[in-house]
């Protein structure tokens, strides 16, 4: 186990790399208001974060990541475009597997740039790859934008698309919904019987609680619409499966995607962006001929990743968590800024310095 002073020094060194490239160093509070994080991530965050209590301020969480405070800080008084770097501990409760660290350092680099998002994607990836270049790591990439575009382009009702989009980051749930909408899975218990009634709300007993009779009637109407809608076609489901199952180098994947886009024109723009990004990465010296692309990458890591996603892994040490991860999270800034109508295209990544040290220990320094 590497000691904390060494990890801190390594974090400072990595942060120095990003500062030298023009990033502004920023800090974030360790205690974060729980309400914001709960609103963003839902109840699951309670299982993953340390929740604590202040008699005056109420519930607080030990920061589970820097993304939220850095976005908030930028929205409050940042000039654009902006590049930030930061370092510090993050805290993750480990309810199940007790061998993973519950407190560890992160060094981050985040770019807020409205004008050149693809260029910003490539920059973040290339800077992190650069910082990690002495280690021979495998990089994996993906693009949530492709999947989002594919779902938006399905020939089905808007309600079905919205339901699929909402669960895009929960693969099992997404699959169950897709199977149902494609007519491959039965309706949930009791639904057919309910819809068969002339007035399902008859004999329903007293109306209690905040969810009103009008809301219930609206959903019955939505279910009737759904029951009458044609299933999503086998062909469309197969195309989605092709997309999700992609596992190739970036160059090969582009030609496969061009084929898929012939039958699924909705993804054409997303494929263009992927191609432009590959070019931008190439210009920055990334070996895109050998850069892995996975169609499902990023679906389980963080809700709100909605574009380019990436991670760096030590192939010889599958026991270790990824050395670095990152991606584009425009959707998160939309949710965080919705009260004031703010949204800021954002992309960034984090490195775990203690993993870097663990991989360099014994090797050349």
């Amino acid at each position: 186990m590497t000691d904390k002073a060494q990890i801190r020094a390594e974090a400072a060194r990595l942060m120095g790399v990003f500062e030298a490239k023009g990033a502004t160093a920023v800090e974030a509070d360790i205690l974060q208001p729980a309400g914001t994080l709960l609103d963003l991530y839902g109840e699951d965050i309670r299982g993953r974060a340390f929740v604590t209590h202040d008699p005056i301020r109420g519930e607080a969480m030990l920061r589970p990541d820097f993304t939220v405070p850095v976005v908030q800080m930028h929205m409050a008084d940042g000039a654009e475009p902006a590049r930030y770097t930061y370092m510090g501990e993050v805290f993750r409760a480990q309810e199940e597997s007790t061998h993973r660290a519950s407190e560890y350092f992160q060094v981050g680099y985040e770019v807020f740039d409205r004008d050149a998002p693809i260029e910003a994607d490539a920059e973040v990836f290339a800077f992190i790859q650069d910082a990690l270049s002495p280690l021979s790591l495998r990089a994996a990439t993906g693009d949530m934008g492709l999947l989002l575009a594919a779902v938006r382009g399905l020939k089905t009702t808007d309600r079905r698309k919205a339901a699929l989009l909402r669960h895009i980051w929960r693969p099992r749930r997404f699959r169950a919904l897709l199977d149902r909408f494609a007519g491959r899975a039965p309706l949930p218990e009791g639904r057919a019987a309910m819809l068969a009634k002339d007035d399902p709300m008859q004999d329903a007993g007293p109306q209690i609680g905040l969810r009103s009779a009008a809301e219930i009637a609206d959903r019955i109407e939505a279910l009737r619409e759904d029951a009458a809608a044609a299933p999503i076609s086998v062909q469309e489901v197969e195309l989605l499966d092709d997309l999700l199952g992609l596992r190739e180098t970036t160059v090969n994947v582009l030609s496969r995607l061009r084929d898929i886009a012939v039958d699924m024109p909705a993804i054409a723009d997303a494929v263009d962006r992927l191609e432009a990004r590959a070019e931008a990465l190439y210009q920055r010296g990334v070996d895109v001929d050998n850069l892995d692309f996975e169609g499902s990458y990023g679906r389980t890591s963080m809700e709100y990743y909605d574009g380019f996603v990436f991670g760096f892994y030590a192939e010889t040490r599958p026991d270790l968590p990824p050395v670095a991860t990152g991606g584009r999270y425009d959707a998160l800034t939309r949710v965080l800024g919705r009260a004031k109508g703010h949204e800021i295209p954002a992309v960034g990544g984090v490195i775990r310095p203690e993993i870097v040290l663990e991989l360099t220990a014994g090797g050349a320094k």
């Binding site: 709960l38 609103d39 839902g42 109840e43 699951d44 309670r46 299982g47 309810e95 199940e96 007790t98 339901a163 909402r166 669960h167 929960r170 099992r172 749930r173 169950a176 949930p188 218990e189 009791g190 639904r191 309910m194 399902p200 709300m201 329903a204 007993g205 007293p206 109306q207 209690i208 609680g209 905040l210 969810r211 009779a213 809301e215 219930i216 609206d218 959903r219 019955i220 279910l223």
Partner: protein, 232 residues
């Protein structure tokens, strides 16, 4: 060195526990006055009986301050993360049966399954600007269950009692609680979601993995489990 066994300190759970051991030739008895929390075990040497609140027995087992304990299987799963690393089940005792369930207002005719609950939660959040509230005291069990079933856009609000009343009081939209007959739920115009309960609970004899298991306590355990007809 005595083997400490923790049993619920009052009510039917205590009586049934005494009966269960009694039927197997191990007599547990309260000693002293009615109000004194003191008890003894007759029939085996080297056992100390500790009367505790059923809710605290999981914690005492995990800490290893008692060797054995009787409590609900729901409480162990709720209160101990990675519970199998901390305790093992010696016997399901066949009483104290209760199901942990999720219930919604009966007037929600469109909601019968978790799948429906998820869809209703999404619409509710869009309409009301906050996540659909589920009142419960079983935070861990319910959160894990809803995550495993891909339910989003809900929040848990803590309710330590009279949980079934929270919907009418508009402090929650749904509840997750223990029920054996469903009577209280029906009386409060609630219905249980279809499908298997979140957990089927019953009184269970647990063994702590963290207690001091030395030669003496191991020997006592062997005698006890022999009498009870269990594998230790």
């Amino acid at each position: 060195m005595t083997l400490k066994i923790g049993v619920p300190s009052k009510g039917r759970l205590m009586e049934k526990t005494f009966d269960w051991f009694g039927a197997r030739g191990v007599e547990l008895a309260r000693t002293g006055s009615d109000r004194e929390y003191a008890a003894a075990v007759n029939g085996i040497d080297g056992i100390e009986l500790v009367l505790l609140s059923a809710g605290e027995i999981p914690r005492e087992l995990a800490a290893g301050r008692i060797h054995l304990g009787v409590t609900g299987s729901d409480l162990v799963r709720e209160k101990l993360g990675s519970w199998q690393d901390k305790v093992s089940e010696l016997a399901l005792m066949g009483f104290g049966h209760a199901d942990l369930i999720i219930a919604v207002p009966k007037c929600w005719v469109d909601v019968n399954t978790l799948d429906d609950l998820d869809a209703a939660a999404a619409a509710f959040r869009a309409q009301h600007g906050f996540r659909l509230r589920i009142a419960t005291k079983f935070h861990r069990l319910i959160r894990d269950h809803l995550r495993d079933h891909g339910v989003a856009d809900y929040q848990l609000v803590d309710s330590q009692g009279a949980t079934e009343g929270t919907v009418k009081n508009e402090t929650a939209e749904a509840v997750a609680d223990i029920t054996s007959t469903g009577e209280t739920l029906r009386a409060n115009h609630l219905k249980i979601l279809a499908g298997k309960p979140v957990h089927k609970s019953q009184a269970t004899l647990f063994k702590s993995r963290n207690a001091d298991w030395n030669e003496a306590t191991r020997a006592t355990l062997k005698t006890l489990t022999g009498k009870l007809g269990l594998q230790s």
